[in-house]
C-alpha cells in the first residue's frame, strides 16, 4: 500500500523521554517494581516493553521480567482478512498469578488488539492487576478500553495512519502521521 507521510509526530528524543516518563509513572503508581512483569504485544510492543523494563531497572536497581504476547490466534477479524495471518510465538515464562502485568503496545486505536491481548493473558493465569502502557493513543475506540500510561495523545482522523518505527524493528525511532491514498 502506498502511503504519504504528512507529519512527524515524535522524534527519537521525544520517544526516549516519553518511554522514560512512562517507566517513572509505573514505579510511582505501583510503589516500586516488586511483582511487576512487562509484557509487549507483538510486534512493536515488544521492543517498547524491553525499553521500559530497562528504565525500570535503572530507576529501582532491580531487574523486571518481560514477556511477549502474540495475539494473532485471539483476533476477532478472521472474517475480514484475506488469509490466515502469520502466527508468532507467545513467550510468557514467568507465572503471572497475582502479579502486576504491564501490557505494552505501540498504538492504541480501536482497542481490539488490547481486548485480544487481555483474553490471551487471562489464559495464562489470574494476574493481580493489568495496566496498559502505549506510546501513542490516537483515539477512535470501538470498545471500552483505556490506557493507564500514554506517551503522547494524538487526535487523528479515521482515514489517517499512525506508524511507529522503532530502532529494533525498523532501524530508526520515529512516529509519523500518514494518509491513505484516496
Amino acid at each position: 500500500m502506498n502511503i504519504r507521510t504528512t507529519a512527524t509526530l515524535m522524534e527519537p528524543d521525544q520517544i526516549r523521554r516519553a518511554v522514560k516518563r512512562i517507566a517513572h509513572e509505573i514505579v510511582e503508581r505501583n510503589r516500586g517494581v516488586d511483582g511487576l512483569i512487562v509484557v509487549g504485544i507483538r510486534r512493536r510492543g515488544v521492543p517498547l516493553a524491553e525499553r521500559i523494563a530497562g528504565y525500570l531497572e535503572q530507576i529501582e536497581g532491580q531487574s523486571v521480567p518481560t514477556g511477549i504476547l502474540d495475539i494473532t490466534l485471539y483476533r476477532d477479524d478472521f472474517q475480514t482478512i484475506t488469509s490466515a495471518p502469520k502466527v508468532g510465538r507467545t513467550e510468557i515464562n514467568d507465572d503471572i498469578h497475582e502479579r502486576v502485568v504491564i501490557l505494552v503496545d505501540d498504538v492504541l486505536y480501536t482497542g481490539r488488539t488490547v481486548r485480544a491481548a487481555l483474553d490471551e493473558l487471562i489464559d495464562f493465569g489470574r494476574p493481580g492487576r493489568i495496566q496498559l502502557a502505549v506510546l501513542v493513543d490516537r483515539g477512535h475506540r470501538e470498545i471500552p478500553i483505556k490506557a493507564d500510561y500514554v506517551g503522547k495523545n494524538v487526535p487523528t482522523n479515521e482515514g489517517e495512519i499512525v506508524e511507529v518505527h522503532l530502532e529494533e524493528v525498523d532501524g530508526c525511532d520515529e512516529v509519523i502521521l500518514a494518509e491513505k491514498p484516496a
Binding site: T72, L73, Y74, A84, K86, E163
Partner: protein, 332 residues
C-alpha cells in the same frame, strides 16, 4: 504476507518450499501453545471439523483431534467400523450426509489412494488427507521435515535416507516430495521387491546396499514393515529382513556421527528398528509425535483461515460488525 493459499491438503506433491516453510514456521508458534497450562486458543472457534477414519489409527487420529480441540474447533469423530458404512453406504453418500449438517473441514484417512481428492471434488468443505492408501500422508511428511528442520535449521544439502518398504509407504512418498522441494538429498533403500520401479524420477537416488546408502547420512527415516507383506511373498522372513535391512547400532556406524533416527510408528521393534536404537540417543521418535501435534495445528489453522477468507469473498456479510481497517495500526 506469509500465508498459504490452499483450500485442501491432499498431498505434498506440487508444494513449493515457501508453502512448506509457511506451515513449519507457524508450527513453531503452535508448539508453544501445547506448553501452556491452558492449552487452548480461540483461532477456530465455531468451526466444525469431522474426522473420518476409514482405517485404524492411534497417533494420527489422537493428534488431529487434540490439534482441533486446542484450536477451539468443534470435532466429530467417525469410524467406519461403527457406522452405516457397515450397512453398505458409499463414501459419497456418507460424506454428503455429513456435509448436509454444515461442517467446515474434513480430515480423512482411507485405504484407497485418491479418496481425499475424490472428496475435495464433491464437497465445499476443506479436505485434509490423514493418509490415503499407498499415496500420501502429508502431515506425517511435514512433521518429519519439521523435526529435521528443528535439528538442523535448513535442510538443503543434508542427506536423508529412507529405509524399508518404500513401495507401500505413503509416509515415504510425502517425505520425498517435501524433502526434494527443500533441496535435501534423498536416498531410498530397501529390498528390490519393495522398491517401486522408476521412483528416481521424483528426484531421489535408489541404493539397494544398506551400508552404502547410509554412508554419511544425516538422518535415517525407518519405515514400518507391514507384517502381511511376508505372506504376499515379498519378504522371505522377518528375521532375514531384520538382519539385512534392520537399523541397529551396527548399521549406524556408517552414518555421520550425529545422524538422527526417525520412525513414523507404530514400530516393530526388532524388525525394522533394533530395540537399543529405538530407545537410544539418536532416536527422535517421540519428538516426532510432539511435533506432529504442532504441525497439524498449523495446517488446520492455515487451511481453515484461508477457507474463511474465501467464504467472505463469495457470501454477503451478514449484519455483524466489520472491521476493515488496515492492520498496520494495531494488529501488525
Amino acid at each position: 504476507m506469509n500465508s498459504l493459499n490452499r483450500k485442501h491438503l491432499l498431498g505434498l506433491e506440487g508444494w513449493n518450499a515457501d508453502e512448506i516453510n509457511t506451515v513449519l514456521d507457524s508450527a513453531v508458534s503452535f508448539k508453544e501453545v501445547s506448553e501452556r497450562s491452558v492449552k487452548k486458543v480461540p483461532a477456530l472457534r465455531g468451526k466444525t471439523i469431522v474426522n473420518l477414519f476409514f482405517e485404524n489409527s492411534t497417533r494420527t487420529r489422537i493428534s488431529f483431534e487434540l490439534a482441533e480441540k486446542r484450536l477451539s474447533a468443534d470435532t466429530v469423530n467417525f469410524s467406519a467400523s461403527t457406522s452405516s458404512v457397515k450397512k453398505g453406504e458409499s463414501l459419497r453418500d456418507t460424506v454428503e450426509n455429513i456435509e448436509a449438517m454444515k461442517i467446515d473441514m474434513i480430515v480423512i484417512r482411507h485405504s484407497s489412494a485418491g479418496a481425499p481428492f475424490f472428496l475435495s471434488q464433491i464437497v465445499d468443505a476443506s479436505v485434509i488427507n490423514a493418509g490415503d492408501g499407498q499415496h500420501e500422508h502429508p502431515t506425517q511428511g511435514l512433521l518429519d521435515i519439521f523435526t529435521l528442520r528443528e535439528k538442523w535449521g535448513a535442510l538443503a544439502g543434508r542427506k536423508v535416507v529412507i529405509v524399508g518398504d518404500v513401495k507401500h509407504s505413503r509416509v515415504a512418498r510425502s517425505n520425498i516430495h517435501g524433502l526434494v522441494a527443500l533441496d535435501a538429498e534423498v536416498v531410498l533403500c530397501g529390498p528390490p521387491t519393495l522398491m517401486p520401479v522408476g521412483i528416481e524420477s521424483l528426484g531421489v537416488k535408489v541404493e539397494t546396499n544398506l551400508p552404502r546408502a547410509l554412508e554419511g547420512a544425516d538422518a535415517v527415516n525407518v519405515l514400518r514393515i507391514q507384517l502381511e507383506r511376508q505372506r504376499a511373498g515379498l519378504l522371505p522372513s522377518l528375521d532375514e529382513y531384520a538382519r539385512v535391512w534392520g537399523i541397529d547400532n551396527r548399521a549406524l556406524q556408517y552414518t555421520s556421527p550425529d545422524c538422527i533416527v526417525m520412525h513414523p510408528g507404530p514400530m516393530n521393534r526388532g524388525v525394522e528398528i533394533a530395540q537399543d536404537v529405538a530407545d537410544g540417543d539418536r532416536a527422535v521418535i517421540l519428538e516426532q509425535v510432539t511435533n506432529g501435534l504442532a504441525v497439524r495445528m498449523a495446517v488446520l489453522y492455515l487451511i481453515g483461515g484461508a477457507e474463511m477468507a474465501r467464504d467472505d469473498e463469495t457470501t454477503e456479510t451478514s449484519g455483524g460488525q466489520v472491521n476493515a481497517r488496515p492492520k498496520t495500526q494495531e494488529a501488525a
